[in-house]
């Protein structure tokens, strides 16, 4: 229908459209004016009557049949139908049989994470991401809530079991830029989500220090439908019970069941996981007699003058997070002060008393004394002020599955 048709419709109080449809009573001027305004609004793109979720609620669907016939083989004036039966010939004699499209409440909540979100013990600001889509036919608000999976419950990913809870769990709604920003994404409910529209929602949380490598914390995000139509969270949307009214918008819950809700309850949910990835260092210390003054290197015994080698094996468990800046300190102060042992400053070469084998298998011999007095060497003995009689090795980095070995030697007095 073009602009000219609308103007003509105003003057003659409507003709049928090209399909012969009529949805207004001829005597109701105000209703006609309202429908004209609506039609004009539709033309101007003010509203979108059909979406993926179907025809918008509140739209009146009208139907009218027309009969042509003859009597004594003479064509008669056509007659239009009405809900109660019409026999008045001519245009506008009938009345549409109508109903109003009801509110089909439907939505989806789908995690956007394809794997657990990795967290480090004590870390903050880890977020799960969900996409909430209004697949119904009415603009709605949505309240949002989080349910922590009980310990031992199933996770979303990898068939694991929930083992811990995150701290300071918060819900945040995206401000429209498609990414999480704690400063800007401050809403904790969804306001006025139109049919077909979607929005990201985040669960933001901090990792407790106590969590261990490989543990999971799993959460459900639940969206609950509330009435739209005004700023702020509207009243809880409730399904229409009892007899329905063809002339008003009833509410029908058409939602499926998510991970933490039932089918047809006006809610939908999905689940996301946090996984702790931290280093898992295993330290094994052993000692071995290298030589003694009597037996030399052949079956040496731990007797005065014997050289004892201490071996510290540091291993990061397979699959664990990388560990960087590992520092190993071992005080020999008591034993040396008591006169039990002395540190062998030339254990591996003249002036090199500490041996480090890194994760790549590279052996480094380090000096006896820290040249810089600040721990700048990777291996030191008593190098830093106040660290007398302490073996210190710094700067070790180990990925999961890697190991390093530290060796030094002492002499029994």
């Amino acid at each position: 229908m073009g602009d000219k048709d609308i103007l003509f419709g105003i003057l003659i109080f409507f003709t049928k459209d090209e399909k012969g449809r009529k949805t207004v009573k001829p005597w109701n001027l105000f209703k006609k004016a309202a429908i004209l305004a609506l039609a004009f609004g539709l033309m101007m793109g003010m509203t979108k009557p059909v979406c993926a979720g179907g025809t918008h609620s509140g739209i009146q669907i009208g139907n009218m049949a027309t009969v042509d016939y003859k009597m004594n083989d003479i064509s008669q004036t056509p007659i239009e139908s009405s809900p109660d039966g019409n026999s008045t010939p001519g245009i506008d004699g009938g009345e549409s049989t109508t109903f109003v499209v009801d509110n089909k409440v439907n939505m989806t909540v789908i995690t956007q994470d394809t794997a657990p979100v990795l967290v480090t013990p004590g870390g903050i600001g880890y977020y799960l991401t969900f996409l909430i889509t209004n697949t119904g036919n009415t603009t709605q608000d949505y309240a949002l809530s989080v349910n922590a999976v009980i310990q031992g419950g199933e996770t979303k990913f990898n068939n694991q079991l929930d083992a811990f809870d995150m701290n300071n769990v918060r819900i945040r709604v995206d401000d429209g830029d498609g990414q999480y920003n704690d400063a800007n994404d401050t809403a904790d409910f969804i306001d006025e989500l139109a049919p077909d529209a979607n929005i990201l929602v985040f669960i933001d949380a901090n990792a407790p220090l106590t969590t261990k490598n490989g543990e999971y914390a799993s959460y459900h995000l639940i969206a609950t439908t509330h009435n739209g139509g005004a700023l702020g969270l509207g009243a809880l949307t409730e399904e229409t019970e009892g007899a329905d009214n063809a002339d008003s918008v009833d509410i029908v819950f058409a939602d499926a069941n998510g991970t933490y809700d039932r089918r047809g309850d006006g809610q939908f949910s999905d689940q996301g996981d946090y996984k702790c990835v931290s280093s898992a260092l295993i330290i094994i210390k052993t000692s071995e007699v290298i030589s003694d003054p009597i037996n030399g290197n052949l079956a040496p015994k731990r007797i005065p003058g014997a050289v004892i080698e201490y071996v510290t094996n540091i291993k990061n468990a397979p699959g664990a997070g990388a560990a960087a800046d590992i520092q190993v300190s071992e005080s020999l102060d008591y034993e040396i002060t008591e006169g039990a042992i002395t540190f062998d400053p030339d254990g591996y070469a003249e002036g090199y008393g500490i041996e480090l084998t890194d994760s790549a298998g590279t052996i480094t011999l380090t000096t006896l004394k820290d040249d810089e007095e600040t721990g700048g060497d990777q291996g030191d003995f008593g190098g830093i002020s106040g660290d007398n009689n302490t073996v210190t090795v710094t700067g070790i980095s180990l990925d999961g599955g890697e190991s390093a070995i530290i060796k030094f030697r002492v002499i029994i007095r």
Binding site: L11, I12, F13, E18, K19, G20, R21, P26, W27, P49, V50, G53, G54, T55, S57, I59, I61, G62, N63, M64, A65, T66, V67, D68, Y69, K70, M71, N72, D73, Q76, T77, I79, S81, S82, P83, D84, G85, N86, S87, T88, P89, G90, G93, G94, T97, T98, F99, V101, D102, N103, K104, N137, T240, A243, D244, N245, A246, D250, V252, A254
Partner: protein, 158 residues
């Protein structure tokens, strides 16, 4: 202004009111619901279309009754497929009626097998039910005074 004057005369002056025709035409819109009867069996009932949401099917039944003193013949019932609704293929029924469909807002009618539409590239393909715009029943029999009949179709709300 002339049109408005004519409208006012028609609406408010009894002398211009039209007399009743010879057919009464009634249209019902109904939905089907499943209920459990007294025997505990599931039963499909038709109720007035009230709770209708996208995807639901509505049954439209058009009743015709000859209310005059003379028989009527060559009855043709035309029903546009309601806006926002899609005709359900094969659902149009009517005793002793030739049923044809239109895909051009009622300008022309034909049997489904003869309805063709062109796509954006100009290729022709058989029309599908969702492209039907109008349904027409041509009754082949004479309807006697007092006689009633019906035709019907189903459509799904988009």
């Amino acid at each position: 202004m002339l049109s408005v004057s004519i409208f006012i005369l028609i609406q408010f002056c009894p002398a211009f009111a039209q007399e009743a025709g010879h057919i009464e035409l009634k249209c019902l819109a109904e939905s089907e619901i499943e209920v459990v009867n007294e025997k505990g069996e599931k039963e499909i009932l038709r109720v007035k279309a009230a709770k209708v949401v996208p995807g639901d099917e509505v049954i439209y039944t058009i009743y015709y009754t000859a209310i005059g003193q003379e028989p009527v013949n060559d009855i043709v019932i035309n029903n546009p497929v309601p806006e926002h609704m899609v005709y359900k293929e094969g659902s149009a029924l009517g005793d002793c009626a030739e049923i044809k469909f239109s895909i051009d807002e009622g300008k022309s009618f034909d049997s489904p097998e003869n309805l063709k539409v062109k796509d954006a590239e100009g290729n022709e393909h058989p029309a599908v039910a969702k492209e039907y715009t109008n349904i027409r029943w041509m009754l082949k029999h004479v309807v006697k005074p007092g006689q009633t009949g019906q035709v019907c179709f189903r459509a799904r709300l988009e």
